[in-house]
């Protein structure tokens, strides 16, 4: 499933009515705008056809007889119509554009709010880039559908009908003759565009492969140099650009044939007008103005026809975008508050995992019959190899996921009885890769408790021992941290996320220590900050550092979803088992690192 729903180009080739209706529903509140722009387009297209009709009459009734007064009257009318036309052009661009922007705004908002509710199982399987594409390009395509695509259709239909009606008014027989050409043109256009669109699809796919190749070429440049692969890579890349050239060239050649062919068919229609129109002129039932008008109308009708297939293809794409956006909107969160859930005032109390079973994939259980209990105020260190289940325990505890079987009790009560919001706001979470938001340090710490005063922020960061380094920054607490905190070192980010957690006055602390090496000084600072926090609060720490492990009230050695060893540091050392070897290895590593030799 995962692969399928990430496929960008994947869309059904039919115009699905249901999706289209749903899109129309999105615009429901803005129907006046929609009606406004549709009416204005119809007026615009009609007025253009009408103007040609007026020119015909001006030629026949004023120019040919030589009546200059009447001529002026005609052109006053013609000018007035142009003014109205200009005004309706303004209105339709304005209404359509505005409608489009508002729909985009609404959809982005809706989608963002929805995303905030989705569960982690979704985010774990869905790349961030995929969701961002839904929020950006897909949404703008949906708005194109209700605005510019719709406009093209209304325009084409009004344009062709009014041109036809005026031709019929001028000369019934000739108009019917011209009418015969229309299906031929439309058929040719659709036939051609099918192939052109297919070629452009190849161009797009070649293009994305080229981008991918550039990406690897730059990211892996040092390996490429070291392995002296330049020539081979260039020849492989050359094949890609050849593909791109061939596909683009074919698309261009097809397009270059298409336009002349359509023009040729329309010139055949005009030729018909010249021929039969000539006979009718001799018979006195056709005029010079009529010939001029027919030629104008035929040229007119050409424009929408040339576009018809492009619009159709765009609409297909937009509907596919809409399908993807709707599928995201329809996605229900796996974890929902129970109907009878209550707001937790406090989550202090013993924490118990009771026979918990959990898996991410059905056939691959991560935890089974997993039980343990800790008392209020205890600090638990989780240790063991990667993939053993430590992170899962933390994820369950944070209720990012819920047990498949069994339950987790906090203060004797199944934690699913609480609302997610009230439960999670009592947790203090410090992640392995500390995540900061762009903004100032002040903003980032205050994220822990939005109503906290500046003084409280400073106090919390003092407790986290983050105060020192912050004050040394040129802007102090008002230093911008950059996107995802890139202006700061990992150690500094960790101190800030610690301060953030302290500020939130958590009742349970959940911490995933960083494995990546940070300098000894910041590590010392973090440790001292942690001590403050851990003293009084129940805490779970996925621990990597000896100091943290040693200080824990209890250590759980976890591997393959089971607790293999449990007890205090001294107790576990005596076992001379898993913990013992982990400890000695980590001991050497940390000490060697402290020597700064192998940096």
């Amino acid at each position: 499933m995962a692969e399928k729903h990430f496929d960008e180009e994947n869309f059904s080739n039919r115009l699905t009515g249901k999706t289209a209706l749903r899109i129309l529903e999105l615009a429901k509140e803005h129907y006046p705008l929609m009606a406004g722009f549709i009416v204005c387009i119809m007026i615009t297209a009609f007025l253009e056809a009408l103007n040609t009709f007026i020119v015909k009459h001006a030629i026949d009734n004023a120019v040919v007889p030589g009546d200059s007064v009447l001529l002026k009257h005609y052109f006053v009318l013609y000018s007035l119509l142009h003014l109205i036309l200009a005004f309706s052009v303004f209105l339709f661009i304005y209404c359509a554009g505005r409608l489009g922007e508002i729909i985009q705004y609404d959809l982005r908002k809706k989608l963002f709010i929805h995303i905030q509710k989705l569960s982690f199982s979704y985010f774990d399987k869905t790349p961030v880039g995929w969701i961002i594409s839904r929020m950006t390009s897909d949404i703008s395509r949906i708005s194109d559908l209700v605005t510019w695509n719709l406009m093209d259709i209304v325009w084409a239909v009004t344009n062709m009908t009014s041109a036809l009606v005026f031709m019929l008014l001028i000369n019934l027989k000739l108009a019917l003759a011209v009418l015969c050409f229309i299906p031929v043109i439309i058929y040719t256009a659709l036939k051609f565009q099918k192939y052109i669109i297919a070629e452009f699809r190849k161009v797009r796919s070649a293009n994305s492969r080229i981008t991918g190749a550039y990406n690897e070429n730059i990211a892996g440049v040092k390996v490429i140099k070291a392995l002296a692969r330049e020539e081979k890579n260039l020849s492989i890349f050359g094949a890609l650009t050849d593909d791109m050239y061939t596909a683009s060239y074919r698309a261009i050649v097809l397009s270059s044939v298409f336009l002349p062919v359509v023009q040729l068919i329309s010139s055949a229609a005009i030729a018909t007008v010249l021929w039969f129109g000539g006979w009718q002129f001799r018979a006195g039932v056709f005029t010079v103005g009529s010939i001029q008008a027919f030629i104008s109308y035929i040229t007119f009708m050409l424009w929408p026809v040339q576009d018809i297939a492009r619009v159709y293809a765009e609409m297909q794409k937009s509907l596919a975008s809409a399908e993807r956006v709707f599928s995201l909107l329809d996605r229900q969160p796996d974890i929902k508050d129970r109907k009878d859930s209550v707001t937790a005032d406090s989550v202090k109390g013993d924490i118990e995992f009771d026979n918990v079973k959990f898996f991410y994939e059905e056939d691959d259980p991560v935890l089974e019959n997993f039980s343990f209990k800790i008392k209020t105020g205890e600090t638990v260190a989780l240790v063991g190899p990667t993939g053993g289940g430590k992170s899962t325990i933390v994820n369950l505890l944070c209720r990012f996921y819920e047990p498949v079987e069994g339950c987790i009790r906090i203060g004797g009560r199944d934690y699913t009885e609480y609302t997610q919001h009230s439960l999670q706001s009592k947790l203090g979470v410090i992640l392995q890769t500390p995540h900061l938001f762009s903004g100032t340090i002040m903003d980032n710490i205050r994220y822990g408790r939005l109503e906290a005063s500046d003084d409280e922020v400073v106090e919390a960061s003092a407790k986290a021992h983050a105060d020192d380094f912050i004050c040394r920054l040129p802007e102090g607490y008002f230093e911008e941290v950059g996107e995802e905190g890139t202006h700061l070192s990992t150690g500094q980010k960790q101190l800030i996320s610690l301060a953030r957690a302290i500020l939130s006055r958590p009742e349970i602390i959940i911490m995933d220590e960083a494995t990546s090496s940070i300098d000894t000084l910041s590590e010392e600072m973090i440790h001292r900050g942690m001590e403050n926090l851990l003293k009084t609060t129940t805490a779970f720490v996925i621990a990597h550092r000896l100091s943290t492990i040693r200080d824990a009230d209890r250590i759980l050695y976890i591997d393959k979803g089971r607790i293999l060893e449990s007890g205090s540091h001294n107790q576990l050392l005596l076992l001379k088992g898993h913990y013992y070897s982990l400890y000695t290895r980590q001991f050497r590593k940390e000490k060697e690192r402290d020597l700064h030799v192998f940096g």
Partner: protein, 592 residues
């Protein structure tokens, strides 16, 4: 494959140079445009003749069918011209960007290490893709667009002059006004669009930040806060979108009005001339056609001109990448048989010519020796080994390989005989097989590949992947652990069978079992090769033939273990500290 050479800095001249061998084709396509436009204009002359013949003079000199046939023939001629025009323009603009893409690709991979150290990946990719695409549109859309408007004006204006010069002059006074207005407006529209796009970028960043930080958002229950934050950005985009669209909504009716005024004025003038007998009725019908072809396309000028400025910018961004000198891979000796003897003589090196990274480096390594490099981060170890494959050139001093200065060998030759295993090697998103074969240029049999991966103890792990050796790295959720990546890199190096080996002996990211595995395979690999090990553990030092201690870019100690342990200095201190750690550990364990 045609690769481009030097490109000038001046965009205008540069875009001319870029045309290169496509010049003839491209210019023909521009000229063919005039033929296509002429054929279209000729159609109005047919019309004029026709109307004059049946209405003005009433001569009926020709059968009606002649006019019809002639009209269709003209359309066909026009079609042929416009087909060749598009074809030539398309093939040359696509050809130009194909050369440009290949050149950029090749140049990027041959730019020096120092360049890549400072360059941003995203920036380089953007230049190679979207900037190149802008250049493609310059040749494919912008210039042909302007050219078309130009010929439409020129040919139809001349046609009106042919009808009546006074009428011609009265048909165009509004044209400069329309051009001026469209240039001004589109500059504004363009700026406004940039602002809109900028906000779009901010929105994407905000979503990205929210999603990567979703655990923090949830953990602090900050959904409402995040939604509000997003909403204010979203509102700003709405606002900017509205201002962008308002400019469009104002421009089109405004320019439409001016065009219409010119059109009405022209037609009335011509019609009055017909009434006064100065023009024929056929002239009038043809004139309406000429006039429309002159006036309406001009509205688009501003749009194209605004785009031209983006093409200048894109050109400069692309040519500035190509300005940087690339490495010469080929010149130099390519046929030596390396034994692996290496000598550093008084080597000095710095990245920026001011703060030295290596100073006065002197070291002799015999063929087959192993040399362990020891020192803090930034002490110069990595730079030191990077000099051997000529990733960097020393500022001063001589580096000899088999008693020949390293500059005398070609870079390609050197790199083919030097194997490098990094601590977190980069794998390419192709099959595991391709990754293992990445460095070898000869034919390699299946059994040889398997033997190499067995030697690197990665065969078994590979066989557990869904498609075994054909598994594509990074697809279908196949993510390789740090240890697996490293062992694939080792298999790659085994196949390459280099004379000189550079190992980054770090296993910080793997567990104990993997660590031992990797150690074993590494020691097999090192046999009979001159090996430099960037050491991260005491074990890799003890057995080395030479130990070199770096501090602040200088070698402060060298010798083997027994030699260094006997003299006072850094190494002895480290070793003793090491011993102290063990003592401490034992004490602590017993204490527990």
């Amino acid at each position: 494959m045609h690769l481009l050479g030097y490109l000038p800095g001046n965009p205008l001249y540069g875009l001319w140079v870029l045309l290169g061998s496509h010049k003839k084709k491209y210019l023909s396509s521009l000229i063919l445009q005039s033929a296509a436009v002429s054929a279209g204009t000729a159609g109005y002359f047919v019309l004029r003749f026709y109307i004059n013949d049946i209405a003005e003079t009433g001569d009926w000199r020709f059968p009606l069918a002649y006019f019809s046939i002639f009209y269709i023939v003209l359309a066909a001629v026009r079609g042929v011209f416009s087909f060749y025009r598009s074809k030539l323009a398309g093939s040359s603009s696509e050809g130009i960007v194909r050369d440009l893409r290949n050149t950029l690709f090749d140049h990027t991979q041959k730019l020096s290490f120092s360049y890549h150290d400072n360059a941003s990946t995203g920036e380089l990719i953007q230049r190679s893709t979207s900037d190149v695409d802008t250049i493609r549109r310059f040749y494919g859309d912008m210039i042909p667009g302007l050219n078309r408007i130009f010929f439409m004006f020129l040919i139809n204006f001349s046609s009106i002059v042919y009808l009546d010069i006074k009428l011609a002059l009265l048909s165009v006074p509004a044209i400069p006004l329309i051009i001026w207005m469209s240039v001004i407006f589109f500059r504004k529209i363009h700026d406004s669009y940039e602002l809109y796009q900028e906000q779009d970028g901010k929105l994407s960043t905000a979503v990205q930040e929210n999603l990567t930080g979703i655990r923090i958002v949830r953990a602090f229950a900050r959904q409402k806060f995040e939604t509000d934050k997003f909403d204010s950005l979203n509102r700003e985009k709405l606002k900017r979108g509205k201002s962008f669209l308002l400019k469009h909504a104002l421009y089109w009716p405004a320019s439409h009005t001016i065009c219409a005024v010119q059109q009405i004025f022209g037609i009335i003038t011509a019609a009055m001339m017909v009434i006064n007998g100065k023009l024929s009725i056929g002239d009038l019908v043809a004139y309406i056609g000429f006039l429309n072809t002159i006036i309406w396309p001009v509205q688009q000028m501003g749009r194209i001109i605004a785009q031209l400025s983006t093409a200048w910018v894109s050109y400069s961004r692309v040519s500035s990448v190509l300005e940087n000198e690339k490495e010469d891979l080929l010149s130099g000796n390519e046929s030596a048989l390396l034994s692996g003897k290496i000598e550093f003589r008084d080597i000095y090196f710095s990245y920026d010519k001011s703060s030295p990274v290596l100073e006065n480096i002197n070291l002799r390594c015999e063929p087959g020796e192993s040399i362990a490099l020891l020192g803090e981060t930034g002490s110069g170890k990595t730079t030191f080994v990077n000099l051997i494959p000529r990733f960097y050139n020393a500022d001063r001093g001589t580096l000899l390989i088999d008693d020949v200065p390293v500059e005398n060998y070609s870079r390609r030759f050197l790199r083919e005989h030097i194997g490098i295993v990094e601590q977190e090697p980069y794998l390419f998103s192709t099959t595991i097989r391709e990754n293992i074969l990445y460095g070898v240029k000869r034919e390699v049999s299946e059994s040889e590949i398997i033997k190499a991966s067995e030697a690197a103890s990665v065969h078994e792990s590979i066989m557990r992947f869904p498609d075994k050796y054909e598994t594509v790295v990074g697809e279908k959720g196949v993510t390789l652990s740090g240890g697996q990546k490293q062992r694939i890199a080792i298999a790659r190096t085994i196949l390459k069978d280099p004379r000189i080996l550079i190992l980054d002996d770090s296993t910080s990211a793997v567990d104990a079992e993997t660590e031992n595995n990797i150690r074993e395979t590494l020691s097999k690999l090192m046999k009979n090769k001159t090996t430099f090990i960037i050491a991260h553990r005491i074990q890799s030092l003890v057995d080395a033939d030479q130990i070199v201690v770096f501090r602040e870019g200088k070698i402060i100690q060298k010798g083997n273990h027994s030699h260094l342990i006997a003299e006072e200095g850094f190494y002895k201190k480290v070793f003793e500290l090491q011993g102290k750690i063990e003592d401490e550990l034992v004490r602590e364990l017993n204490h527990g």
